[in-house]
Symmetry: D2
């Protein structure tokens, strides 16, 4: 079990029965953190490439995705909200924004994946992030 | 004109005709930045209050709102996306998440606004942020 | 008085005698928030410029400065630490990092300020941020 | 090799000879990301505890550490700076701030580690982060 999973399970609001829910949250948090960082490294790699002027769309999609994934991981750290209603009011549109940012970024990077390994890695990370957001959205909506 | 407005107008992608659009974006950015910071100060004020245990809902709503507003301001800094479609794919759900976070936080803080001035200030900032998000959403959707 | 100043003064840890200290913190917070956002807009403007390949140093300095200024504003939101020692242990090196990031960014942008208005605006914002960090550092160290 | 390591190695600025340097950066990035998230979860766990009023110092140290670690990971994503001087001007004080935030948080959480497992987990993560920052600082200064 990862340190993040263990921290989520050590949260006093984590009820026994919600163990599976916590595991899905841990997977989504880890996907968001990894995707955010791989996007930031990919964006800087795009800046460094000679063909930077052709990579603008990629670069921006990676920056947006980095921001939205990082924000989603931060909100997912707070589990203790008593009313599921309130938690859902913010988390559902935020997960939708995160899924959208990861899709846009995956598609932009795939177009360059054969030329640039960093774009291929970003596209793969984004795909895992889309899946993790969808898994949580399926439980919440 | 604020420094942020001037920076938006100095962006090479800012077309002359979009001056009004840029002004709406500047207002939304400024509302998001101010709300994020007032939420963070309000959250720390809740932590400091003797009655912190009764302010948990407020505190969490302020933290979530701080995160989502800050992310929205960051994404709004990038105007140069060539296809409006892509920009809309991320920005619309993100503005919806921001509006939701600001509403939840406004409502949570209003319940304590008569006792704590910091809660009143957060509620006011959130209300302005809701309006600024709605103004941009009305233009984009 | 700005909303951020009012929120700082409404914090229960703000003692009467520290009113001047709070004002210096509010100025530093506002400089950090504005600089962070102007840097993000400036970075995206650099990406959009035809000569993006010549603006790499600027672009990265703006991104770093945006990150460090935003983090500094977040830490400055928490005033209530009982021991000044602990607060100083984190805040002093963080303000030093913020001042360094703003100086590097100011110097990188000044070299392009005559050609690009967005670089000139970033350089000006960074200069104000350097001064605001120094004013707080002079009080803390 | 982790996805983050692979992304760093795919960056066009990663010279062959710097492979060991890239590995140290990857370890520091991963420690920062994990610590930031475990701190955020730990902070929300402190908010949820009945004894929240006794955990204020912990809670704030966790929030500060979360912010500074996240900022450090973001700056570490940008490797391509041509002059080592500039990179060092920001990164060295930022790594020092990160190490300071992780030490303060580790010490605050250790005092509660026997009662709260989440505090113990945060203290362990912070200790790893201190070591990773020191390893990078030893190479840079």
């Amino acid at each position: 079990m990862s340190t993040i999973s263990r921290a989520l399970m050590a949260h006093p609001a984590a009820p026994e029965l919600a163990r599976e829910e916590r595991a899905a949250e841990a997977r989504c948090i880890e996907a968001c953190l990894e995707t955010a960082q791989v996007c930031r490294i990919g964006a800087d790699a795009c800046v460094e490439e000679e063909a930077v002027a052709e990579l603008r769309e990629c670069l921006r999609a990676e920056q947006d995705c980095g921001v939205v994934c990082a924000a989603t991981a931060q909100v997912l750290a707070r589990l203790g909200f008593p009313e599921p209603g309130d938690g859902r009011a913010v988390l559902v549109p935020l997960l939708q924004a995160c899924r959208a940012a990861a899709r846009v970024c995956r598609d932009a990077c795939r177009r360059h994946a054969e030329v640039y390994e960093h774009c291929a890695l970003v596209a793969e990370a984004c795909e895992r992030c889309v899946e993790a957001c969808e898994a949580l959205l399926a439980r919440r909506s």
